[in-house]
């Protein structure tokens, strides 16, 4: 699905990623853990095309194409989805309007007709129930006045409607209480299938209790320093990041 080779990224003169290598085959869930400032969010931003980062070396191949050459909206239309750590508010634009505009942009890209208004409403009303969100959220301005948990659910709702092939979850668990975490995790798990891959960024092992990863990577100081199975996360939880950093040093 996606292949990251020797990726070096800097902000201004400051090197953040210093040679990241990562392969995520279709259908797999990979978790990236690591201490603050390791470059986790930078990785998610560079993959989704946010401005302000310079790729100084390396490549990212996604479904056989050079991902870094695509505009952010083209990456999205090709199926790259970022669930934001801090979803923005867009006053005046209703949630359902945004969802529909986004879905139609993707459909247009695939050469399909715009979605029928009634079909769309039925689809959205069906999906919103699974995330235990009230229908009134559809008609509120995007994320405006939403609680932290509501914003995160809203991100997953968007993923559910847009059906991307590669999902990046950037600290989706932060700011969630345990009940919300269960709902969001269930939403993500419902999306799992053999054609879809996930890159899950988190500080805590807790999320991995609900969304079981295939592989866990540790990112420290701009590099992936250790990879392993789900048990690696438990070990990290017990021993702390220092343990890995010391091992590498």
């Amino acid at each position: 699905m996606i292949s990251i080779k020797n990726l070096h990224v800097s902000i201004g003169d400051k090197a953040i990623l210093k040679g990241v290598n990562l392969e995520i085959p279709a259908g797999e869930v990979h978790a990236i853990m690591g201490p603050n400032g390791a470059g986790k969010s930078t990785l998610s931003h560079v993959l989704s095309g946010k401005a302000g980062y310079t790729v100084t070396e390396g490549s990212v191949t996604y479904k056989g194409q050079d991902l870094l050459a695509l505009e952010p909206e083209m990456r999205a239309r090709e199926g790259v989805f970022l669930a934001f750590q801090y979803p923005v508010e867009i006053p005046g634009v209703s949630n359902i309007y945004l969802l529909k505009a986004a879905l139609n942009a993707m459909r247009k890209h695939r050469g399909e007709a715009e979605v029928d208004a009634l079909d769309f409403l039925a689809l959205v009303k069906d999906k919103i129930k699974t995330l235990e969100m009230d229908e009134k959220f559809l008609y509120r301005a995007v994320n405006e006045g939403f609680s932290g948990g509501e914003k995160k659910r809203n991100e997953i709702l968007q993923a559910t409607i847009l059906e991307p092939s590669f999902c990046i979850l950037d600290e989706t668990d932060s700011g969630l209480d345990i009940d919300a975490l269960k709902v969001v995790s269930a939403g993500v798990n419902a999306l799992r299938d053999e054609a879809r891959s996930f890159l899950m960024i988190t500080h805590y092992q807790r999320l991995l209790d609900y969304i079981k990863p295939d592989v866990v990577h540790v990112l420290a100081d701009g590099k992936i320093v250790k990879s392993g199975g789900p048990e690696l996360a438990l070990e990290l939880e017990a021993k702390g990041y220092h343990w890995v950093e010391e091992q590498v040093a």
Binding site: E73, A76, V88, G92, L98
Partner: protein
């Protein structure tokens, strides 16, 4: 036989042979402004005596006036004596013969707005065949209005057909001494619309300048007078979403609305004059005086405007609320991009008891433009129980533009309730990136956010106007992103 056929052909083919055309052939006036020019203008229009007097009075007063300079605008000096104040309507042979002769960029814009081909021809000023669809449309339309007793015609025609009616109302809302531009207009206006809705009549259709016969060539000094008699109701649409080309740089229009007891006027405008290029070269100066007088009790006037064009806009549609319980509303979206400047807003003058007014103003600035809201809410001592609500929001797109807000409030009646809310926001990089990450292009994202921002005004527009206005907004801001 064949030679006589040729003969006939020859005669028919000739143009403007003596005695064949009844119209007096009129040349465009030489540049200049004096009493003689005004007298000639009035004579060409075949105006009644009182009209010439009115014009001359205005002109004499105008000569004593100075251009206003209080607005937040930078205006290059205008030489009013080097303008030609009358130009003969273009002959068909002087007009472009087909759309092939029109600026491709303009055609591209028409296409984006989804304007049908024959309509594109009309807008671009292409000479069209004698039998043109809209003529028959206009005729049926005129018949229907006539049955209802509604008068809707060019003001020049009204001056000939209904001189008493015009005389009774013209200049009673905006006097010929009102302000520099209105006074100039009173002296030299060329044409415009006249509407009279009789007592108790609900106008059977929305009146649009679009359907007015002789709509072309109203010139740079347009004059509009609308009278809604007791208990009548009318919705009037002015302008067009397609970009209007005009060789005249200075436009100074006057619009007067008169409302009697229980009358209601809804006046909607989409203004899209040429704004100049991205460096601010060219573009129309639009200095407009629009005012409504609610003379009757329980009357209601509502101004809705979407302003996206012109290099400079100076415009404050106002409501004088004389009648008890009368209501004034002002809903405005003003967009400026590139080097455009707009100083626009409204005046609500509360005189009658329990008068109410609402102001919703949405200013959007992009590029290096300057967008100013200027509003006055005035409550006279007589206006017991007056209420006003003002909401004034500015949206900045990019970081080289500016938004200014100047609300003036003068209250002499202690029971009045005045509310004012204002916000300024900016389209952030994060919002754009978020939308892009959901597959939406930056242009569409800006358009979506701006439309969301303007929603409360758009819902006041007549349906089809609202749809066009949304498309127009997207176009006006195009080219900002990137």
């Amino acid at each position: 036989m064949s030679s006589s056929a040729e003969e006939i052909e020859k005669v028919i083919g000739q143009k403007y042979k003596d005695g064949f055309v009844t119209d007096i052939e009129v040349e465009t006036f030489e540049p200049g402004l004096n009493e003689e020019i005004i007298a000639r203008l009035s004579a060409i229009k075949g105006e009644p005596e009182f009209m010439l007097e009115y014009r001359l009075q205005a002109f004499r007063h105008w000569q004593t006036m100075k251009e206003p300079n209080w607005a937040q605008l930078k205006i290059d000096p205008i030489d009013y004596y080097s303008i030609s104040y009358y130009s003969a309507p273009k002959k068909d042979s002087d007009k472009p013969q087909s759309l092939d002769e029109i600026d491709p960029e303009l055609l591209e814009t028409y296409k984006k707005l989804g304007i049908p081909l024959d309509e594109q021809e009309r807008l671009a000023g292409v000479a069209v065949d004698a039998v043109f669809d809209s003529v028959s449309v206009a005729t049926t339309f005129k018949g229907k209005l006539k049955d209802a007793g509604v008068i809707f015609c060019p003001i020049s025609e009204a001056l000939q057909e209904y001189p008493e009616l015009v005389k009774q109302y013209l200049g009673t809302v905006v006097s010929e001494k009102d302000n520099f531009f209105a006074t100039l207009n009173a002296a030299v206006f060329t044409d415009g619309s006249f509407v009279y809705i009789p007592k108790g009549v609900r106008c059977p259709m929305e009146l649009s300048t679009y359907f007015r016969i002789n709509a072309a060539n109203t010139g740079q000094f347009e004059r509009t007078l609308i009278i809604a008699d007791e208990g009548s109701h009318v919705s009037y649409l002015e302008g067009c979403t397609a970009p209007m080309r005009d060789e005249n740089q200075l436009h100074a229009a006057v619009v007067e609305l008169v409302l009697m007891d229980n009358a209601e006027i809804k006046y909607s405008t989409v203004q899209n004059w040429y704004p100049g290029d991205e460096n601010g070269v060219g573009g129309i100066y639009n200095f407009v005086t629009k005012r409504a007088e609610c003379r009757g009790a329980n009357s209601k006037v509502s101004w809705t405007q979407v302003e996206t064009g012109s290099a400079i806009t100076w415009k404050y549609p106002s409501c004088v609320l004389l009648g008890d319980n009368s209501v004034g509303e002002f809903y405005s979206v003003a967009v400026t991009n590139n080097c455009q400047q707009a100083d626009t807003g409204t005046k609500m003058i509360h005189i009658g008891k329990n008068t109410r007014s609402t102001i919703i103003s949405k200013g959007i600035s992009a590029g290096r433009s300057q967008n100013t809201y200027r509003g006055l809410v005035k409550v006279a001592k007589s206006a017991e129980g007056a209420r006003n609500y003002t909401q004034c929001d500015s949206l900045l797109v990019g970081d080289k533009c500016a938004a200014h807000t100047f609300p003036y409030v003068e209250v002499k009646q202690p029971s009045a309730q005045i509310e004012h809310e204002a916000t300024t926001s900016k389209i952030s990089e994060d919002q754009l990136f978020f939308c892009q990450q959901r597959g939406i292009s930056p242009e569409d994202a800006v358009s979506m956010i701006v439309n969301g921002f303007c929603k409360s005004v758009f819902k006041e527009l007549p349906m089809e106007f609202a749809v066009e206005a949304q498309a127009l907004l997207g176009l006006s801001l195009e080219g900002y992103v990137g």
